[in-house]
Subunit: 194 residues, 2 copies
Amino acid sequence: MPDVKHFDPDAVLEQVEHLFWRRGAATTGIAEVVAATGLSRSSLYATYGGKQELYAKALRRYVERRSEPMFRALAADGRGLPAVAAFFDALIEARCTGEYAGWGCMAANAHAEPAGPQVRDLLGRHHGMLRAALRAALETAGDQLRPGLDLDATAESLTLLAYGVNVRSRAGADAAALRRGVTAALDALRPTAL
Amino acid sequence: MPDVKHFDPDAVLEQVEHLFWRRGAATTGIAEVVAATGLSRSSLYATYGGKQELYAKALRRYVERRSEPMFRALAADGRGLPAVAAFFDALIEARCTGEYAGWGCMAANAHAEPAGPQVRDLLGRHHGMLRAALRAALETAGDQLRPGLDLDATAESLTLLAYGVNVRSRAGADAAALRRGVTAALDALRPTAL
DNA sequence: CCTTTCCTGGAATGGTCATTCCAAGGTAGC
DNA sequence: GCTACCTTGGAATGACCATTCCAGGAAAGG
């Protein structure tokens, strides 16, 4: 009983993820998925279900395998503000140079198109985990931060900043400009130098 | 020679703008545009061109008639930080309550889909004008700001923040949370109270 | 080595897409 | 009131969409 697949489902899903990430869900046809993966239509449908499910699975892979590892590293990094700065540096680097430049963040992109409950859950989870990671990083910042700062609200503002970076990077925003904006936001959190 | 149209082209374009704004370009069919406007296909094509041109015209209307008036008001308001706070309050109010709640910003949404040169120009213009307006407002803030602040970089960071608000509001983000995030970002710009 | 079982590939299908075309209708000038 | 012209509405068109189906094939158990 060869109930083993003749291909690696996760490797294929990664190619699908790349396709939906770059092109979006609505404008990407199954024919393109077939061409990109080399699989046949029937194998795709049998393995992953229809297009909506396929997109949801690809987005899930993106969130779990790409976003959340970065969020976990940020939350575990105990350095405080330098950790936050490193996170944003890595984000801008990933968004503006290399293989995925100009693709933006797949989760941020997904906000623009009509989404089913699965996708909506993933977007809420993405936002919640980023916010929690930033909050955790800020908690370790101690006196790197100006006194009296509301950590919850600050984490929320940095989360929104990250979404802004993601969106604008898709329009080919200048990496240096993004870095300046992020640096300004982080510098404002520091105590006033005397 | 009745070269007058039997309808108001701008009123129709506003309905089209609403449709594309809410539903996105790729997922909206011409049939829906016909149903929403009451016009016939031939009138639409004769007046506005094909779907791409129609979308570009609708986005142009959005930028010129909705975004830029707010940007101009922000740039002309001489109050400094309160002007910026009022701008963000109005933004969140518009994004989370009333007729357009959950629609996000049409220009921010447009980042997610493949765009022709016209659309790309409009997105650059949108970002540039918002950034310039924030910069102008910050210039009038005087000692409401902590000393030594880089106004260019701060304007960029607030621009990114606004895009973040726009994106997240499309996923039904809580208005109060957005307000807290914005407030934290603005508070960080103020001089430290002693 | 043969049978059984499930996966695979390509063709087939009904629906929807953007776009075009043509006859009908209404208005301005004469 | 008549003619000429432009706009309109609805039907027609060809391409592409997501999805399904069926025959062929490869691998494991006996």
